[in-house]
């Protein structure tokens, strides 16, 4: 828009000095800061949620795998050796009789190293005959209850109840890694 009775050089000078006021600037900076804080907070929450989910999935997958492996092995066994098993304690042991071999499940202590720090955990493991024991749970998992109960009646095929509680290893007690799950099931010998 042309300014009446104003020379051109004056008009151009006036355009140059037009800009934000201090108040506008303060409002602008406040909004930008607010958005940045909210965004960072959400991103942080998402990162935390992802870690939490990962921990939850880890404990759930390990629980399912461990219980499935034990119940399947009980079904296929010839017998349960009550003499060589340990029932009704939180760190139980199950010895299954197979033709020519035993299969043993237990949850002994194992020391693992996390970020240069030694951490004591219990690992669920299987020993198949003469072979070396193999871990059934990962290094991220601590077995806090592996209880076996013999619910066999009379001379009938053995029935074993299994209680399993596991948690994610969390030496720094960080809430993001706090994940724990417990479940119970039972299995009978089929023979």
């Amino acid at each position: 828009m042309k300014i009446e009775n104003c020379p051109d050089f004056v008009e151009s000078k006036l355009k140059i000095i037009t800009g934000f006021t201090l108040v506008e600037l303060i409002i602008y900076l406040s909004l930008v800061s607010l958005i940045a804080v909210v965004s960072i907070s959400f991103v942080w929450n998402i990162v935390n949620a992802r870690i939490k989910n990962e921990a939850n999935q880890e404990v759930e997958q390990n629980l399912r795998f461990g219980l499935e492996k034990i119940t399947q092995a009980i079904r296929e066994a010839d017998d349960v050796s009550a003499m060589d098993s340990i029932f009704n304690v939180s760190s139980g042991k199950l010895t299954l009789k197979y033709p020519g071999k035993d299969i043993i499940f237990d949850a002994p202590v194992k020391i693992i190293n996390i970020n240069g720090q030694d951490v004591e955990i219990h690992k669920l493991r299987i020993k198949d005959g003469d072979s070396d024991p193999k871990d059934l749970t990962s290094n991220k998992i601590d077995i806090i209850n592996f209880k076996l109960t013999n619910l066999t009646r009379g001379l009938e095929p053995k029935n074993i109840k299994i209680n399993l509680t596991i948690k994610h290893v969390n030496p720094t007690q960080n809430l993001r890694w706090a994940a724990e799950i417990s479940s119970e099931t039972a299995s009978s010998i089929r023979k």
Binding site: F42, N56, S182, T185
Partner: protein
């Protein structure tokens, strides 16, 4: 909008993780319920009563208690239902025809509330059967024909029961007994003949010098849980004999469980009497034998003459044997009988095959046993053909095979072994 989306995503992720964990626990509890029902069934089939049940193991074993069980936020219900079959027992279809007493449907139902308070259900279904001690398992296109009373025949009789599954129930008795003249009873069916425990088919001589008769059976499947006998009996007068008759069975499948008996004895208390053992002949494809087949001569008076035991002939494809097969004699001059078993594969365990003579005179002699199979397994068993009192005139045991396993078996006398491969 972006914030709302992010919040929804975050919370949704938490929720789905929590629900997955709940589902996992519920499926484990449901599996435990099925296994508990199986344990209850294993102890006593009758405990698997229809209806909804809770579970307890307070007494150290699984039991039903109440109609529901609460485990934390979960409720577990074991539902037992009967199943019916079609008349011929071949199809397993709910709601039809006849209830099968040997099978139950077991539903392990877990209910709980999700994070959003919605009711959630996990169910596992299994079918448990009373296979160890079935009340009644029948799959046949034949009509069921049950005999529960005594049916007597006074002359030679032919019974054509084609199209019928004949079941001789406890107390049921097909009786072709005669006082003097042996008579025959012939049963034919293209279906099955089952003699239940307590059921009988007899063609016996009466208790005074009566010879045993003849029993002929032709069927697709024969199961003898009770008794078939063609015994001869003699009490009076002196000198008249009573020989065992003959039993002939032809079937695709023959099953003689542990209580089953197939006897053609010559049986006398009279002095100076010869009562000879009879004949038992079996022709079958599959023969599962746990009971007793005997054609003994049981002359218990010391004055008896030459009570020779009878003959047993078995021809089949597959023999699984853990029963007794005997052609022994118990008279003082007795000569034991003959047992011939010819089969493609024979597997015997804890069996007793004897043709022994218990006679006390020099005439007493062991009998003959001939066992022939492509694969002949005789484990932990006794096979003997000897004269027990004198131990002077043993009989002969002949074993003909291509492959063998005689672990834990005793033979007396030492057998003649012939290796013959096809």
């Amino acid at each position: 909008m972006i914030a709302a989306a992010l919040i929804t995503l975050t919370l949704g992720s938490y929720q789905s993780n929590f629900q997955a964990a709940q589902e996992t626990k519920a499926s484990h509890l449901a599996g435990e319920g099925i296994e508990a029902a199986r344990a209850i069934k294993n102890y006593n089939w009758e405990n698997l009563t229809n209806g909804s049940h809770g579970l307890t193991y307070a007494n150290g074993f699984w039991e039903f208690q109440g109609s529901l069980e609460n485990i934390g936020p979960y409720a577990r219900e074991i539902i037992i239902e009967s199943l019916s079959r079609q008349n011929n027992f071949c199809g397993l279809l709910p709601g039809q025809d006849v209830i099968d007493p040997d099978i139950k449907k077991v539903i392990s139902k877990i209910t709980w509330k999700s994070v959003s308070s919605k009711p959630r259900i996990t169910e596992l279904v299994s079918y448990l059967s009373n296979w160890t001690n079935p009340v009644k398992t029948r799959c046949s296109k034949c009509e069921l024909y049950e005999i529960s009373s005594v049916v007597e025949f006074g002359a030679d009789t032919v019974l054509d029961w084609s199209g019928k599954d004949v079941v001789i129930k406890p107390g049921g008795h097909l009786k072709a007994d005669s006082k003097n003249n042996p008579i025959s009873l012939t049963i034919t069916t293209n279906c099955s003949l089952i003699i239940e425990d307590g059921g009988k088919i007899t063609a016996e001589g009466a208790l005074s010098n009566g010879n045993g008769g003849v029993i002929n059976i032709t069927a697709s499947e024969v199961k003898i849980v009770g008794t078939i006998s063609a015994n001869g009996y003699s009490l009076e007068p002196i000198g008249l004999s009573a020989n065992g008759g003959s039993i002939n069975i032809e079937a695709t499948d023959l099953n003689i469980p542990v209580t089953g008996k197939m006897r053609a004895w010559g049986y006398t208390f009279s002095p100076s009497t010869n009562s000879l053992g009879g004949i038992a002949t079996v022709k079958t494809t599959n023969f599962n034998h746990q009971g007793e087949i005997s054609v003994d001569a049981l002359n218990v008076q010391s004055a008896s003459e030459k009570p020779d035991a009878g003959t047993i002939n078995i021809e089949c494809q597959e023999l699984v044997n853990s029963g007794k097969i005997n052609a022994n004699t118990y008279g003082r001059h007795g000569r034991a009988g003959i047992i011939k078993i010819k089969t493609a594969n024979a597997s015997s365990n804890n069996t007793n095959i004897t043709v022994d003579s218990w006679g006390i005179t020099g005439v007493a002699v062991g009998g003959k046993i001939s066992l022939s199979a492509n694969r002949l397994n005789i484990l932990n068993s006794s096979v003997s053909a000897i004269d027990i009192k004198n131990n002077k005139k043993p009989g002969i045991i002949t074993l003909i095979y291509c492959g063998k396993d005689f672990t834990g078996a005793t033979f007396n006398p030492t057998p003649i072994e012939i290796v013959s491969c096809p």
